[in-house]
Amino acid sequence: MLRLANIRKSFGGVHALRDATLTLHAGEVTALIGENGAGKSTIVRIIGGLHQPDAGEIQLDGRTVRITDAHHARSLGISIVHQECVVFDNLSVAENICIHARPQRHGLVSWRQMRERAKTMLRQLDATFDPDLPAGRLSIAQKHIVQIARALDSDARVLVLDEPTAALSHREAEDLFRITRQLTGDGCAVLFISHRFEEVFSLAHRYSVFRDGAAVDAGRIDEVDTNVLVKLMVGRAVEPSVSGHAAPSETELLRVEGLSRRGEFNGISFSVRRGEVLGIYGLVGAGRSEVAHALFGLSTVDSGRILIDGMPVTIASPTDAVRHGLAYVPEDRQTEGAILSLSIAANVCLPSLQALAPQVICKRDRESAFAQKWIDSLSVKTPGPDQLVGALSGGNQQKVVLAKWLARQPRILIVDEPTKGIDVGAKAAVHAVMREFVAKGHAVVMISSELPEVLNLSDRVLVMRRGRARGVFEREAATPEAIVRAATDA
């Protein structure tokens, strides 16, 4: 139905797409797979009319078209759920959902019809929040649902889902898949982008693999398996994340007792030993990030104690936390983790400036050398330490954020969704960094929604649900079934 042939697109001399070909068929879901930087988001933006290709041809129903802007794409029946959250915080949920085609009566916007339509869309997605609420008051997951409702509120013939499930809980993702299947049943062509292979295999009929801006393979999904796809993506076989690392020591490094904060989490207790990775698993909104915030002094707790090396400590601010040897890599690396408009060197050196420039004056060459050391040790793909972090791919940005904190030589590393939205290669590198870190006798607290990651990497897993701890699972007891049950069971 929609065919893009030999698309090329470059930004300031950098080729985002070299030779991309992609075909979507009516009534079928095509999964687009590729590492970050492979050009997936660029092709989505071209389909959506936000970018114009430098060369190549787009055909819709066999006719060549030029998609001039988002509005035009919409009128051609192309509907897109973008990867980044594009919600208007200042507008109501209803208006957000109907933003493309606000219902009108006598030339005036009809708020009543708008509310009705929004309600219908939300009901389909099993969402219960009020359409009159300003969207700014929703959680990230709820905002994504609004975005999905917006895309579904049309007679879409082509639906593009760019990593729609990254912020969704399992239930919400299932609802989305149910509706997607319904739409394909009606003859809609769907492009589905995801880093989660389980989803790809359960939803897609076809696959298409991009690597370095070009299509490398395409075919029917039932003819391949995960290993084949991974190999195609990276162009080399990636070692599956091996467990088998040294057993943690018996000495406790961090102990948390009965940590509570009103409205967020209640009675959270756990301990982390030297050389240990503690995974924290739970659905989005279970209060995991909130615990991390409290540990790092970003929010205050109402009760509970934190002990480091057996000594009770007070962590009232991130400054305290850093002094006690904690480091925190937040979930949202683009706004909280890194300063995108600054160079790699500036980012990496930021928490270490005191050590690097004891006499107030910062020396650029010294900073560059310092940053280069970390670029090498984490193998960040970049021409040099002066490159802006914003120009890096997601995986490399995450490496910079890690480097920034590792440079402070912390003893306890808290990471929140460390590999969210980054490709397989970068993921393995991030995992290796964490393993190396604990091998030195340090400890990692890892919040992750990705079950394989939690199971592969953690020595023990704390499961949270609705702000409460549902149990700590030792490695042997941590089966996928047990953990998912604890995270979801009422």
Binding site: A70, H82, V86, F88, N90, L91, H100, V109, G285, E290
Partner: protein, 319 residues
């Protein structure tokens, strides 16, 4: 948003009640009509300014635009005293819109920062008045009776000046709530990248906002000159700051995307009531600036507190 309008409404009412308690003659209809008459130009300009601020811009050149268009209207009237007041108004409006469109084009097509663009055009417009008039005043004896009388014509107890403000407020309310373009202004200012993805061009919305703001300033140019019966280079000097102050008091967010017509009206009336009450109470009108400043700061403090409250409500719901 609503609660903020409500709070400001209550504050304005309390202020009004306090002044009335001390000076019952303040609440007399003719005095109230006078307050509205005095606030009319502020209301008109603040409505235009709000559109610009909604799209994440700011227009520092409104007062200079007003002065230039006022001078053009006065000179036109001097050369063609029989042309009729309405054609003079039309000329002021078109000139204002063109000047506003210049701002808009610079911001839209060249992506220059609004504060820089309008700071520049503000001085250019003032300079143009001097060029045009040769630095000479146009006095009331050089203005035709029709030119002077249009603003003073009374209908149902209110002057044309006051009616213009009332009608503009109604029109703005309807446009911002029920027209797609109006809604797009909020969308473009609230989240420009999301707006682009939804097929709304934020730059184009900025252009529209500056042009309308300019057109309003142009009309106000005529209103100002006819009301005070004099045109010279420095009329309404510094008035843009009072206009922006009225918007901020009225709850328009300087970061864009948030603001209501009701809020802006209340902001203007608040300033208007204080300005008219101060001489009655026997306080020098120069205190006006202090009061505006305090109100803006308090409003900023309150909205900051409101933001943290909102966040904690959400987290309680989620947990």
């Amino acid at each position: 948003m609503l609660s903020r309008d409500l709070r400001l409404g209550i504050a304005t009412l309390l202020l009004f009640a306090a002044v009335t308690a001390a000076f019952p003659q303040f609440a007399r209809p003719d005095n109230l009509a006078g307050v509205l008459n005095d606030s009319a130009i502020l209301i008109l300009l603040a409505l235009g300014q709000m559109l610009v601020i909604l799209t994440r811009g700011i227009d520092l050149s409104v007062a200079a635009n007003l002065a230039l268009c006022g001078m053009i209207a006065a000179l036109f009237n001097r050369h063609f005293p029989d042309a009729g007041a309405l054609s003079t108004v039309a000329i002021a409006l078109v000139c204002g819109a063109l000047l506003g469109a210049c701002n808009g084009l610079l911001v839209w097509k060249l992506r220059l920062p609004p504060i820089v663009v309008t700071l520049g055009t503000m001085s250019i417009f003032r300079g143009a008045i001097y060029q045009l008039s040769g630095g000479v005043w146009v006095n009331d004896n050089e203005m035709s009776p029709a030119f002077l009388d249009l603003v003073r014509y009374r209908f149902l107890g209110l002057t044309t000046l006051a009616w213009t403000a009332v009608i503009a407020a109604l029109a703005a309310f309807i446009c911002l709530r029920y027209l797609r373009t109006g809604r797009d202004l909020y969308a473009a200012g609230g989240n420009p990248s999301a707006a682009t993805a939804a097929g709304i061009d934020p730059g184009r919305m900025q252009f529209i906002a500056y042009t309308i703001c300019g057109a309003i300033a142009g009309v106000c140019g005529y209103l100002w000159v006819a009301r005070f019966a004099v045109a010279y280079t420095d009329i309404a000097l510094g008035f843009e700051l009072e206009v922006i102050a009225a918007c901020l008091i009225g709850g328009v967010a300087i970061a864009g995307g948030i603001g209501t017509v009701t809020g802006v009206l209340l902001g203007c009336l608040f300033i208007g009531v204080i300005r008219n009450a101060l001489p009655l109470v026997g306080i020098s009108p120069f205190w006006q600036m202090y009061i505006n400043g305090v109100v803006i700061t308090v409003a900023a403090l309150m909205s900051a507190r409101q933001r943290t409250e909102k966040r904690s409500i959400l987290e309680a719901e989620r947990a």
